[in-house]
C-alpha cells in the first residue's frame, strides 16, 4: 500500500451521507489514501482536468462516481473522463450508484467504466462491498502518469 500513497481517491457524490458512509467503510478497510470529495459535477470536472496535482496533470488517481448529480449526469462525467486525451483517460473509474438498470450498467461499461457497484439498501452488504473495494484498491495498479509524459 505504501507504494501507492500518492494515489488519491476522487469521490464525486452529492449525498453527504453516502459520501460519509463510503469514506467510513474505506477507512475501515484500512485504506488511508487521500479522499477528495466533490458534491457536484462541475467542480469535480474542474479538478479532474485542471488542478495542479489532479489526474489531468499526471497525478495518479481513482474516481468513485455517483450517477445522480444535481448539475449534470454522472454518465456525462464518465464520458468526459474516458473520452479525453491524455492520462485522465486511463484513470480507473468506479461507478457507485443506486441505479441497477441493466441498460444503464451496460452503457457505463460501454463508456469505459471499470467497475460498477450498486448501492444496496441493505447496509451490511453495502459496507461489505465498500470494504472489498478498499482491499481491491490496495492491490490495484493505477497507471503512472509519468510513464506517458
Amino acid at each position: 500500500m505504501t507504494d501507492h500513497q500518492t494515489v488519491s481517491i476522487i469521490m464525486i457524490e452529492d449525498d453527504e451521507g453516502h459520501a460519509r458512509l463510503i469514506e467510513k467503510n474505506i477507512r475501515r478497510a484500512g485504506i488511508l489514501n487521500e479522499i477528495q470529495h466533490f458534491t457536484d459535477g462541475t467542480s469535480a470536472l474542474e479538478y479532474l482536468f485542471n488542478a495542479d496535482k489532479g489526474p489531468g496533470r499526471g497525478g495518479p488517481a481513482l474516481v468513485l462516481l455517483d450517477l445522480n448529480l444535481p448539475d449534470m449526469g454522472g454518465i456525462d462525467i464518465l464520458a468526459r473522463i474516458k473520452g479525453s486525451d491524455g492520462p485522465l483517460k486511463r484513470t480507473p473509474v468506479v461507478v457507485l450508484t443506486t441505479t441497477d438498470d441493466k441498460v444503464e450498467i451496460q452503457r457505463c461499461y460501454d463508456l469505459g467504466c471499470n467497475v460498477y457497484i450498486t448501492k444496496p439498501v441493505n447496509y451490511e452488504s453495502f459496507a461489505q462491498a465498500i470494504r472489498q473495494l478498499g482491499l481491491f484498491l490496495s492491490v490495484i495498479q493505477v497507471p503512472d502518469a509519468e510513464g506517458h509524459g
Binding site: 458512509l21 449526469g73 444503464e104 439498501v121
Partner: protein, 508 residues
C-alpha cells in the same frame, strides 16, 4: 352513447313504416271504392235492362189486346154483313183470348196504380163494347138481319173503340214515360260510376307517387346513414387506437415518474439504513462501556442510563430497521413495476392454451393443497404479443384465484376467451371469496389490497398486471361480489402494435 354520436341517423323507421302502411291502406281503399262502384253500376245496369224489357213486354201486351179488339170488331162486322158463321166463330175465338190479354197487362203493371186504373177503365170499356156486340150478334143469329144492322148503325161502338184506343195509347205512353225516367236514372248512375272510378284512379296514382317518392327518399337516407355508419366505424377504430395510445403514454409517464421517484427515494434510504447500522454499532460500544462502568463504578450507572442503552436504543433501531426494510420492499416493487414498463416488448405468436396450462402446472402443488381445478375452455384464442408480459399477467391472475379461494367450497378456476374484432377478451373466473364492489378499482392500485389480510403479499400483483395490460395496449377490470367469486376481464389487441409515439425517455 352511439346514438349521441350519430345525429344523422335519426331516420325514424317507425314513422316511415306507419306512413307507408297508411299509403297502402289508402290505395286499397281506392281499389275497394272502384270495385264497389263497378258492382253497383252493374246492378243498376241490370235493373235498367230488366225495366226496359218490362216496358216492351207491357207494350207488346197492350198491342196484343188492341189487335184482339180490332180483330173482334172486324169479325163481328163481317158476321153482321154476311151472317156467315165463320165470322162468328172467329169473333168468339178472339173474344175468348181477350180477357187473358187484358189480365196480362194488369199483371205486368201490378205495381203501378195509375196503370191499374187505366186497365180497369179498359176492362169496363171492353165489357160495354161486348154487351153491345152481343146484342147485335144475337139479333143477327135470330135472323133479324135488318134489326141487327139498325142496331149497329145506332150504336156508339165507334166512339167506344176510340176510347179503348186512347186508353191503350195512354197505357203505352205512361210506360214510355217511365222508361224515359229510368233511362235518365241509368245515365246518372253511369255518370256516378265514372266519377267514382276517376276519383279512385286519381287516389291510386297519388298514393303510388307519394309512396314511390317516400321510398326513394328513405332509400337515399338509408344509403347516407350506411355511409355515415361506415365512416363512424372507421373513426371508432381510430378513436380506440388513439385512446390506447393515450393510455400507454400515460402509463409510460407514470412509470418514468415511478422510476425517478423510487430512485430518488432510495438515496436517502441508503443513508437511513447506513447510519442506523452505524448507530447500532455505536450502541454496542456504549453498551460495553456501560457494562464496564457497572463493574468498576456502579454509582455512575443510573437506571435511566442502563435503560436507555439496553432498551430504548435497540428498540428504536429495531423499529427504524423494520420500517426501512418495508420501505425498501415497496420501493423495489415500484422499481420492478417501472422497469417492466421500460422493457422492450418482443411480440411473438403465443399458443395460449399451452401457456395457461404451463402456468397451471407450475401451480399444481398449491392447487392440490386447496383442492382447486383449473379449466381452460376451448377454443382459447391465441395472441401475437409479448410472452413474458402475457405469462406474468395470467400467472398473477391465476395465482390470485388460487390464493383467495373460499375455504368453504372446492376451488374452480375457468379461463376462457373470445375474439371481438381486432381484440381478444379473456376471462379468468373463480368461485373464491370475491371482492367487494367498493374495492374493484382499488385492487388495481399499488400497495392496495382487499378483504381479510390473511395472505402474504404487498399489494403489487394486480397493479403489475394492470401496468402490463396497458403496456400491451389492453385493459383489465373485474366483476365480483363479496363471497361469490370474481371474474377478471382482460381485453388485449390480438396483435400487439408498437405505440405510434414513443415517449420513453432516457434514464438519468
Amino acid at each position: 352513447m352511439y346514438r349521441r354520436l350519430l345525429p344523422g341517423f335519426s331516420v325514424s323507421e317507425g314513422r316511415m313504416g306507419r306512413f307507408l302502411v297508411t299509403c297502402m291502406a289508402l290505395g286499397f281503399f281506392a281499389l275497394i271504392v272502384a270495385g264497389v262502384a263497378a258492382a253497383w253500376s252493374t246492378a243498376q245496369n241490370e235493373r235498367h235492362t230488366a225495366d226496359v224489357g218490362h216496358t216492351y213486354q207491357v207494350e207488346i201486351a197492350i198491342n196484343r189486346a188492341r189487335v184482339l179488339i180490332e180483330q173482334s170488331e172486324t169479325a163481328r162486322r163481317g158476321f153482321l154483313l154476311t151472317s156467315d158463321t165463320a165470322y162468328l166463330q172467329s169473333y168468339r175465338t178472339v173474344m175468348a183470348a181477350l180477357p187473358a190479354a187484358i189480365g196480362r197487362i194488369a199483371t205486368l203493371t201490378a205495381d203501378n196504380p195509375g196503370q191499374q186504373s187505366k186497365v180497369s177503365t179498359l176492362r169496363r170499356q171492353i165489357a160495354d163494347l161486348e154487351q153491345h156486340r152481343e146484342r147485335t150478334i144475337s139479333l143477327s143469329v135470330r135472323g133479324d138481319q135488318s134489326a141487327a144492322l139498325v142496331q149497329f148503325q145506332q150504336e156508339t161502338s165507334i166512339r167506344r173503340m176510340r176510347t179503348v184506343r186512347a186508353v191503350a195509347d195512354a197505357l203505352i205512353k205512361e210506360e214510355q214515360r217511365l222508361l224515359a225516367i229510368r233511362d235518365a236514372a241509368q245515365q246518372a248512375s253511369v255518370r256516378i260510376f265514372y266519377i267514382a272510378l276517376i276519383c279512385a284512379g286519381l287516389l291510386l296514382v297519388l298514393v303510388a307517387i307519394i309512396t314511390l317518392v317516400t321510398l326513394l327518399r328513405y332509400t337515399r337516407e338509408l344509403a347516407t346513414s350506411r355511409d355515415a355508419l361506415r365512416d363512424f366505424a372507421d373513426t371508432l377504430e381510430d378513436l380506440v387506437e388513439e385512446r390506447t395510445a393515450d393510455l400507454s403514454r400515460a402509463n409510460e409517464e407514470i412509470q418514468r415518474f415511478a422510476y425517478i421517484v423510487s430512485h430518488d427515494l432510495r438515496s436517502p434510504l441508503v443513508n437511513v439504513m447506513g447510519f442506523t447500522a452505524e448507530l447500532e454499532a455505536a450502541t454496542g460500544t456504549i453498551g460495553e462501556l456501560i457494562d464496564r462502568a457497572e463493574e468498576r463504578a456502579p454509582e455512575l450507572v443510573t437506571e435511566d442510563v442502563r435503560f436507555a442503552a439496553r432498551e430504548d436504543l435497540p428498540e428504536a433501531i429495531r423499529f427504524i430497521r423494520t420500517s426501512t426494510q418495508k420501505m425498501d420492499r415497496l420501493i423495489n416493487a415500484i422499481l420492478k413495476l417501472s422497469r417492466q414498463g421500460r422493457r422492450v416488448i418482443a411480440a411473438e405468436q403465443l399458443d395460449m392454451t399451452t401457456l395457461v396450462d404451463g402456468i397451471g402446472a407450475s401451480l399444481t402443488q398449491q392447487m392440490e393443497q386447496r383442492g382447486t381445478t383449473l379449466t381452460v375452455e376451448q377454443p382459447l384464442p391465441d395472441l401475437f404479443s409479448d410472452r413474458l408480459a402475457i405469462e406474468q399477467i395470467f400467472s398473477n391472475l391465476i395465482e390470485n384465484a388460487v390464493k383467495y379461494l373460499d375455504p368453504k367450497r372446492p376451488g374452480r378456476i375457468v379461463v376462457r376467451g373470445k375474439r371481438d374484432g381486432k381484440r381478444i377478451r379473456y376471462e379468468i373466473e373463480d368461485n373464491g371469496r370475491g371482492i367487494a364492489p367498493s374495492d374493484h378499482s382499488r385492487v388495481f392500485d399499488l400497495f392496495r389490497r382487499s378483504g381479510t389480510q390473511d395472505q402474504p403479499g404487498e399489494g403489487i400483483g394486480l397493479a403489475h398486471v394492470r401496468a402490463l395490460a396497458y403496456r400491451l395496449g389492453g385493459v383489465i377490470d373485474v366483476a365480483s361480489e363479496l363471497g361469490h367469486g370474481a371474474t377478471f376481464h382482460l381485453t388485449l389487441p390480438a396483435t400487439y402494435a408498437e405505440p405510434k409515439t414513443d415517449t420513453r425517455g432516457r434514464l438519468r
